[in-house]
Every structure is written in structure tokens, then in C-alpha cells.
Amino acid sequence: MRRLLLPPIGALLLCSTVTAQTIAFTGAKVIPVSGPEIESGTLIVREGTIVAVGATGSVTIPAGAERVDLTGRTIMPGLVDSHSHIGEAAGADSSNPIQPEVRVMDAVNVRDAGIQKAQAGGITTVNIMPGSGHLLSGQTIYLKLRDGNSIDDLMIRLPDGRVAGGLKMANGTNPRRAAPFPGTRAKAAALIREQFVKAQEYREKMRRGDPSKRPDRDLAMEALAEVLEGKRVVHHHTHRHDDILTVLRLAKEFGFRVVLQHVSEGWRVAREIAAAGAPASIIMIDSPGGKLETRHLSYTTGKVLDDAGVLVGFHTDDGITDSRLFLRSAALAVRAGMSRAKALEAMTISNARMLELDHRVGTLAPGKDADFIILSGDPLSVYTHVLETWVEGRKVFDRDDPKDRLYAVGGYGASRDQVLHLDCIGEGDAR
């Protein structure tokens, strides 16, 4: 585990007094997501990790801990967004419909106002993806929304040293264009199958004992081989019921793990999705249509899929919906019949499972990263604001700070690149 989740060295030194401090947040309503809501609870955080969480009185506050009274507030886990395009995300170009070698990592601008706005919306972990205009538009990246100076400061290193992320694929009408892009659904599936067959062969040859008999390294095949080996999850844009089933068919044929993304007509094939064991990350849109494939979009998809036993999450697809209003997705799903508990899981731990980060984020439990948000009221109320967002024990958004507030409510300059201001160091140091 080299460089696991470490902040940049400079920031670490400057912020060390903050991170070493034990902080006890007391008196808030605590929604741990991992268990029942606690009317008056205490959350204890030390060195970026949650030390304890429980009802006030049942948790011992260590001597010397800084105490923060949050009576009247609500604390819940930082939100996990399983599909976003913040950070000026970009992936494949128009030369080819299948480009697994392209990494969104090489595009992300951490100063993009969208990242600051996501922090203002309470998002602490995000899957940034390239777009859906390709059958395969590249490698996605999972970020912790730390205040950072470079993409390296925000990325998540896996135990094997790789950068955490998935692979973005799409079917339906978005990737349909003039050749070499597919002109029909069947052609789309054939092009993808062709590449995965090639990747199967590449993988076999790379396993040969004699290195001289292995093929030359191929970046595209390497990424697809990771998918075949289960080391990289496919995040698959898909709307129409038959397109969803095509995704499941291909995933079964090649044995890759897939998260269904958007699934506007998922309510029509809930049993099939559940039987395949595929999780579904849903977009909540105010009205149906805007494109043919979303004409049957329904607010009830979350409920229907959850009832069928599917692991359900929500996502912003930012800029399609605004990261600052992400909690709205859960609330509208509850309006359409989904349980409160499941809807809140869908914003946190369920998305964390889809990103395979559930051991680190998504609930308030001892040992997990201290990623949490402080709310002015109930998470499902329109009147509630995110007051503070904390990532790994550091405050990255504070609504009382005028610079942060600009991103939270908008105003002149709110959509331009941020001037970096890490809360624990002066602006001059960060620039």
C-alpha cells in the first residue's frame, strides 16, 4: 500500500496540527446509514478516520478532544456520486468508437468550479467519467474530493498501486454515428464483442511462461484485460429496456462486472436486472424525454428496482443535474415510493459498493474515512443546506466562508476555475 490516500506532502505538513487533533462532534442527529438514525449522537474523528459514532452518552469523548456542538444539525456520510463529468472531464476522441487506452485522469482540472460545487453539494467521493458518445470512451477515475493542487492529490491508490477507476461504455443512440462508429444496435454489440474476443486472446498470450512469446504491450488490450480479470468494473450508459438486456448479455458472455448507468427504463426489466446481479445507478430527471431513449423515464425506477432486489444508487451526471442539488435525487425517489433508508443508502453506501470503496466510505462507522457532511436539517427536505463537507477529517466546504458560499449559491465568478484555498493553509501558499 504505497502512497495510500496521502495528501500532498506540503499540505500534509501545513495541516498536520489539524489532522492529529481528535474532534468530537456532539448533539447532532446522526444518520450513520450503517444503522438506525440517532436522534442525538456523537461522532469522533481522529487522523482522518472515524474513531467512534453513537448516541450521546454512549460514546466516551477522549480527554483533550476538540468539541464541536452541532445541536440542531444533522450529520450523515459524505455523498458518493457514481457518475459525474465535473473537472472538465474528457475521454476518447472522434477517431474510433472504442478507446480503452484513454484515461479521464489525463483531462481532469482540479480547479474546475464543478469540483468546488460538488463539495458544496456534500459529495466527497465521485466517479468522473468520459462521455457516452462512444461504445467505449475510456477509463474513469474515482476521486476523493479533497482540496488539492493536482489530480494526484485527489486520486485513490489501490493496494496494487493502480489508480482506482472503471471503464466507461455506452449503447443505444448516443454512440451511433457515421462509420467507424456503429449504425445499428447489432453493429454496436458486434464491435464490442470483437474487441473483447481480441482481449481474451491477448490475455492468454500475455500469460505465456516464455516472455519472448508474449505479444507487444497494447494499452487498449491491457485495459480490457483488466476488465476480463475483474480488476476494472464497467460503467455502462444504457437507457432502453432492450439495451439494458444487451449489456447484461455481453457482461455474461465475457464475464465482466458491470454497473448499469442511467437505466431510465430499468423499471421494465427489473427482474432481469436482479437476476443478473447487476447494480443500477439511476439518474433522476425532472421530466421524461429530451431524447427518445428517456421518453419512458419514471421517478419510480428506484423503488421498482429496489423492490426487485437490485442494488440501487443515484448519480448526478453533472452537468445534466447539478451536484449541489444531489440530495434531491433521493428525495424525489422517496416521493415516488422508495423507502427513506434505501434512498439514503443509494446516495452513499450503495454507490460506494458500485465503486468497490465500501470498506472506506459510505457509512459512518469506526475505522472508515472521516468523510461526512453537516446539514441544516433533514437530508430529504428542500429547505436543508449542506453547511460543511469533510473529507478524511478535513473541512473542504464551509457555507459560512464567503469563498465557499459563492460556489454553493452561485453569483459572479462562481463558474470559473477556483482560486485554490485550502482551509488549513493560506491562499498564498496554495497558489
Binding site: S287, R295, S298, Y299, R335, V382, Y383, G410, A414
Partner: protein, 403 residues
Amino acid sequence: MKHSILVLLLLTPAAASAQPAAPIAVKAGTIHTMTGPPIRNGVVLVRDGKIEGVGASLAVPAGYRVIEARTVTPGLIDAHTVVGLAGYLNQPHDQDQVERTEAMQPELRAIDAYNPREELVSWIRGFGVTTIHTGHAPAALMSGQTMIVKTRGNSVEEAMLRPEAMIAVALGEAGLGEDNKAPGTRPKEIAMLRGELVKAQEYSRKSASAKDDGKPSRDLGLEMLARVVRGELPLLVTADRARDILAALRVAKEFDIRIILDSASEAYLVVDQIKAAGIPVILHPTMSRSYGDRENLSFETAATLRRAGIPVALQSGFEGYVPKTRVVLFEAAVAAANGLTPAEALATVTIDAARILGIADRVGSIEAGKDADLALFDGDPFEYTTHVTHVLIDGVIVSDQVR
């Protein structure tokens, strides 16, 4: 309510047909009349399409169908949309909100393009929207006319409140021509607009000539703009950047015409000038995407304008993609969480919208004699988890799906 939203799309506007309806008494925990403080535990009596009475101590006469609700508001008004001209499929055949052969086409009538059976019309109706100011989009310098309709009826005639409401003008990025067509810059937009208004002044003057040979031959576009320069019709001027807003005020003053500012995302920078000009604002949707000319929009602008005494209404706006329309109920809700009181936010989609649109004699409040357009809720209308339970237009229940 399990699958009500799924089912909704399968329903047609047949529910909105205009038969004479039985009288209805709506009993509610809270009635937001918009004419005074909310009435607690009151009744709204509806008869012959009109509100017969409202109050806390009204008896329900025999023969009235009783409907109960936690909260009643006037039917919501969407102060600016393109729904009905723009369809939800977003395919060429259902997009009639902009025609791009000419930069200025004030002769294009909204009534000739409106589809009352469009799914988006029934979608927003299900969320309590009973009146819409709809028409040509802010996507050309002068894209055409707008109109005001109820979200019911099998024809535009049945839906009609005002067939010719305003002429839509767009400044800034939205007004620029495509493919190098004029206007290519902001000053060119204003020069073309002023040139056309000068022509309209001439046309109007000559048309009023006593001598037949002095009258110009009929011109459908100038005929409409002549009504603008005579002060009979307002221009609906979409302008987001502060400089575009000021350009609009400049033109309004020069020609002494009525304008209504639309979108106006940087209005907070020029509050004093808007206030001094006495011009109302139909503000962008609160949740509109912040990019391009709207990159500096703020969730709090409705509150800023309201505090300054500027009349403000909210709108669903014009969306080119997903979602194909917004819902003003939700836009007002977010405004209520960002500086407006809930009562003020409700006014932006009821009585204040009605006043700005000039239809407050018919809709926008719950008062005896007004159209019986009502939205019924099972809680605070703005809470995400509250449902719309019934919608009435002209005394007819047009939606009883729980939404």
C-alpha cells in the same frame, strides 16, 4: 400511488375535456389564497368553472362533491416555457419553438404550433401547473410570438387565455445567428432590433394615415411590431449578461416600449437600473445550468430582486436536451430554500406571475369570481416528498394521479 407515474404517460389529455362539472368543495388544512394570510381549515367552493367562495367558515352546500387536501394553492402559472411547441421526444417533428431561416420573424404565431396533447403539457399539469405562457424560444434574435393557455383542452382554442401575449427577443449568445448569419455580434443584435422598431414606427404612422394611398401594404411582421411601438404588446427580452440587460433597457427607453426581462441571470448586478426602469423580471429557472451567458447565475437572485421591489416570476424556461422541460413547482421550491419565504416563492408561480402576464383578473389567486384553477397537495407544496393529489382547471378535475 405505486405506479401512478408510470401510468401517467399512458393517459391522454382526455381527462381534460370540457364537460360541465358537478360543483366541488375543497376542504383543506391550509388554503394559500395569495390575497392575504393563509386560511386554516377552510373550504374553497367551485361552481360553473369559477371559484364561488373561499373561507374558514363556509358551509358546504348539498350536492357538492367534497375533496380533502392538506394544502391548496392556486393553479400554478409557468411564466415562460416552450412546452407544447417543444415536444418531449426532441425529434425534428416535435420541435416547433424556433425557425431559423430569418433572424426576426414576429409574424410567427404560437397558436399555429401549439400541441395541447403534448406529453409535456400533461406532465407539468400533473404537478399543478394550470396556466403557461408558452411560445417561440429564446433561440433567435426575434423568434416569434408567445401566448397564454391553460394546460387543458383538445385544441389551442379550448386552451386559450391570450393568443398574442408578447414578442420573443433574445440578446447575447441566444440571439446570435448560426453559420455566420447575422447577427454575429451583440451590437449587431441591437442595431437590427432598433432598425426593425424604426420600421415599425413608420409602418404604424403610415397605417394611421387618413388617406388610403398613404397606407402601406400589409406586412404581417411589422403589423405585430407596430403594436409593440404603440405600447399594446410587450417585448419579452431574454438577456442574461448585465450588459445585455442594460442594452434592453436602453432600447425600451429609446422607443418608449414595454418590455419584460426574461432569464436575467446577472440582474443582481444592475438591480437599481431595472428598478428605476420599472420593468418586471421573469427569472431563469432557479436550477438552470450555469454555463455560457448564465455562468454567473445565483440561486438567490429571485430574493435579491424581490427585496428591491422588482416584480419577479419564475419559469421553466427552454431546454434543448434533458430534462426537456423543468417544473416550476420545483424551481419555486429551490427559490424558497434560497432567500424567498415560502409565501413569496409561491407568489412567483401564482399571483405575481399572473400580474406580470396581465391575467390576474382570471387566475393566480383563490378569490370568488376567478377561474377555478387549483392545485391540491398532501403537505407543504415545496417539499420534495409532498405529493400533488388533485389538479383542477376551470372547475374540472384534470388530474387525480398522486404525483
